[in-house]
């Protein structure tokens, strides 16, 4: 049940393999990776700021909530901060469970909460300048289904 926050790049494939190898008794592993996306064109970099201390606590609370709600044999959250290039992996979650429904639902829950309850802020640097990414109402609305 691991949470990691760092600026270093990581290999989500290697993470899933290690997670799967350690997922004793699981019949299902679900993983999700989020990438830096160039929405409007001209994106040079994505800067991700976070709140050291609170970030780790918030992610651990989100993970604990998922563990209480679904029958998981493992859960992993990895999130980067710092300056990232388009196409780079920002973050990933993985869940392991005896049955796939628990793994799928818990992974979606982790993502929904991570979007609007973990203290990260994204800033896009483009040819035209830099701008903070605004939070989306539908990210907040997504929490209501849980």
């Amino acid at each position: 049940m691991t949470v990691r926050v760092h600026s270093d790049a990581f290999d989500p494939g290697a993470e899933v393999n290690a997670f799967t190898a350690a997922a004793d008794g699981a019949g299902a592993v679900v993983s999700f990776s989020g990438l830096v996306r160039d929405v409007a064109g001209g994106l040079q970099a994505m800067e991700i700021e976070h709140y050291p201390g609170m970030t780790e606590k918030a992610l651990a609370e989100i993970r604990d909530a998922a563990v209480r709600r679904w029958r998981l044999t493992g859960a992993l959250i990895v999130h980067r901060h710092g300056v990232l290039a388009p196409g780079e992996v920002i973050m990933m979650v993985a869940t392991a469970a005896r049955h796939r429904r628990d793994a799928f639902e818990a992974a979606e829950f982790l993502m929904d909460y991570l979007k609007s309850r973990a203290p990260f802020w994204k800033k896009e640097r483009t040819d035209a300048g830099a701008a903070w990414v605004a939070a989306r109402d539908d990210d907040e609305d997504a929490l209501s289904r849980w």
Binding site: Y51, K57, I90, M111, K115, S116, A118, P119, F120, W132
Partner: protein, 81 residues
């Protein structure tokens, strides 16, 4: 107490953190004090609906008391993931 600012709140105020001596009883009272300091604070705290607050690293409300709180953080809605 330590007051921390993140993202555009930090940029508008021009500081990541500062030590603040205050008698404010609630977050809202602290915000009023900060607003009254200088234009850059007034600008950062102009619209509270665009801001979130954490007390000792837990999300909180602007109406919450500051009793025993050591660290207050102001920031825009989060954009993780």
């Amino acid at each position: 107490m330590q007051v921390l600012y993140f993202a555009w709140v930090r940029e508008r105020i021009g500081l990541p953190r500062e030590q603040v001596q205050t008698e404010a009883a609630t977050v809202a009272e602290l915000v009023e004090e900060l607003r009254g300091r200088e234009e850059r604070y007034a600008a950062a705290f102009a619209d509270l609906s665009a801001l979130r607050v954490a007390l000792d690293q837990e999300l909180a409300e602007f109406t919450d008391p500051l009793d025993g709180v050591r660290e207050v953080a102001f920031f825009p809605p989060m954009t993780g993931g």
